[in-house]
Symmetry: C2
Subunit: 414 residues, 2 copies
């Protein structure tokens, strides 16, 4: 894409009320627009990152048998009353509104009720199970405070898969597959090394659950990490019993700040029972469906990637989620060869792979913008480079610069 056609522009300063590093960089880079605390619009570059993350998650969910659907945001009070989760005394982060006729409706803050209610229509027999539907959708949580940028939104884009199994044994097989799929996702988006599967509280659902926690000072959680075994325990369940159950040793665990980028839950029959979600087994007897839940917030994941990889100059995107693999920086010159070479490279690499800074701007401004925007590689075309027959090729992460010939450009996409 030509940067001259990208309507967003970089800014020197983020809004004064924005204290989170991820949002500061993303706003300065024109990736997102802050509508209010915890509510962001995604501008073209930001949406591009979200779509790449979404594509990776979708592939991994489909690979373990997931079937995509899309549930509504407006929620029916009667459905939620079945589990007693309509009550504001039980769930304190609802957004609610009213239809014209006075009927109360809520905005989706999670999907257990909607899924149980829909699936009840379709699950009758053991032949109908197991099934693994999932959703990408906007989720709304009325957080009292929201100061972590796109890492804790009042409105956020979310993937949730629910597993519907015949029994705990069948559930456990899928749960282990989902763990691997989640590890694949965090690996593929570039944060595999700093992400730990973490034993954590099961809340009101079950004895425990698994979170995927990524180490960062911006995280709101504290975890105890075994770096060798690559597992961790959340502070909220950090007991001698928990340590022992995982075969860990207390003196080998290190306290770290981390952010929860995903979680997986054993829901058991907590939701199937109130919805009377049963199937007939091979003996003709009715049994409650055994459920699991597997969530990832895409905005939080994007914010975490920014927190983990940014430096003082700006964002550093992993290739898999970068809006473009390359920034092509044309240093304005009166010699037509500079623009000619830039156009030639732009054409070679393709508009989907390169953000071509074709603007009439100072070199310093262009370098600063390329660093702030954070594409993984920068190709610099200047008078001097063109004359020498070699172009500068800079790795945004390491800062390493090497000189490459025009013919080597062809190999960059391989």
């Amino acid at each position: 894409m030509r940067q001259s056609r990208l309507f967003t522009k970089t800014r020197r300063e983020a809004p004064a009320d924005e204290t989170a590093k991820n949002a500061q960089f993303l706003i300065r880079g024109g990736y997102v627009h802050k509508e209010m605390a915890g509510v962001y619009s995604y501008l073209p570059l930001g949406l591009s990152v979200i779509k790449k993350i979404e594509g990776i998650i979708r592939e991994e969910m489909n690979a373990i048998g997931g079937t995509e659907m899309k549930t509504s945001i407006l929620q029916n009070k009667e459905v939620w009353e079945k589990t007693n989760r309509w009550d504001d005394g039980v769930v304190d982060n609802w957004f609610k509104t009213k239809l014209k006729n006075g009927t109360d409706v809520g905005l989706s803050w999670t999907n257990e009720e909607a899924y149980s209610n829909i699936l009840k229509q379709y699950i009758n027999s053991y032949k109908d199970l197991p099934i693994y539907p999932y959703d990408f959708k906007e989720i709304f949580r009325n957080e009292a405070r929201s100061k972590s940028g796109i890492m804790r939104g009042r409105e956020f884009y979310w993937k949730a898969l629910y597993s519907f199994s015949k029994n705990e044994a069948e559930h456990n097989v899928f749960y282990e597959k989902a763990k691997v799929a989640y590890q694949n996702i965090f690996e593929r988006v570039g944060i595999g090394n700093s992400t730990y599967i973490t034993l954590s509280s099961g809340g009101t659902f079950s004895k425990s659950s698994h979170e995927f926690q990524t180490l960062t000072e911006a995280g709101e959680d504290t975890i105890y990490v075994d770096e060798q075994q690559r597992i961790a325990i959340n502070k909220e369940v950090y007991t001698d019993e928990a340590i022992e159950s995982l075969g860990l040793k207390k003196d080998e665990l290190i306290e770290k700040k981390a952010v929860e980028v995903g979680n997986i839950f054993n829901l058991g029959t907590k939701f199937s029972e109130p919805f009377d979600l049963k199937y007939k087994n091979e003996k003709g007897e009715f049994e409650s469906v055994f459920m699991g839940c597997y969530g990832i917030g895409l905005g939080r994941l994007m914010g975490t990637i920014v927190e983990v990889f940014s430096d003082d100059k700006g964002i550093v995107w992993p290739e898999s989620v970068a809006p473009f693999k390359f920034s092509l920086v044309e240093i304005p010159s009166e010699k037509p060869e500079v623009k000619e070479m830039s156009e030639k490279i732009y054409k070679k690499l393709g508009e989907n792979n390169v953000l071509y800074d074709d603007r009439d701007a100072r070199a310093g401004e262009k370098f600063a913008d390329a660093d702030l925007l954070g594409m993984p590689y920068q190709i610099i075309v200047s008078e001097k480079n063109v004359a020498s027959g070699k172009l500068e090729f800079k790795n945004r992460k390491t800062g390493e610069v090497k000189m490459i010939s025009e013919s080597e450009i062809d190999n960059l996409l391989k």
Copy 2:
């Protein structure tokens, strides 16, 4: 996809309160789930149709210079107060809710304010224009009644593009391009023949606007159609003056019921002025940006396609938006050759192209389901067919059946 793995099932009856034909068929086919009047969840087959429609719209919007972004659903009161459209006395279909601290927020019912507010940050100079950002998002309108199935939702999935031009002349050039893009979209989704560009009211925005109206008895609008010239006039602006302005003759116009599947508006400076959205022209003077708006409701479009093409047996999808091009109907048999042949064809055509009815069910039920679900072509594999070396190939729309040999299957995807 194997139908045995599709968790949805067909139903004989739609809910009693569902009076719209589109929703009756879509619910019976397991395409959508009704959450409440005007609010539907999209099940896997339904989401597949929406994604195909979305892909076509995205291609056409990108082809005329559109840039995709995604604005938030939660809306800031202060932004809307600038145009006086926060007031429930002015806009009567808001859904509103509150943050924990008591701050009022609204749910997006249109995007003029959000776009003007965001673009104000990025438009400074004539060099920044024109630009054409657009959004796919959920839109919320608190309709007093909602009885047209997915054709008039309280929550619906929507595409809106806004054009930001230097002046009316530049706007007009794009407006004509957008008209063509819209015609392409309706052509590509299969309703080109029954869709008329229609002069209609500009509401409070401008003297007139253009709607794209598709003929169907299920439509809520009345239009007067010139079938030769393929243009129409909405009843709300059906005056002698309007007829004359289009060079039409009153006695050649036919009254029809229709549904508005798209609309395009000249917004002029109605929104840029309250937002002080100005640019500096080449002389260094400030001028207000000239805006246009181009909307399509994807659910409404999907519902319209169902209304236009369904027959008494069910839905008839045009190829471009069908979840699958083929239904492969295996008639259960004790002879293993039937399943063998079915599996072979399934593999040949590929899981993304064919819905393979591999269920253990009666032939009559399978035929009825294939007709209800509405894939464009049905391939029937029975004992008799396999023995004769020829398979039945049925066109869902025309009902025409021909016998094809196994080798002809390979040509079906070309």
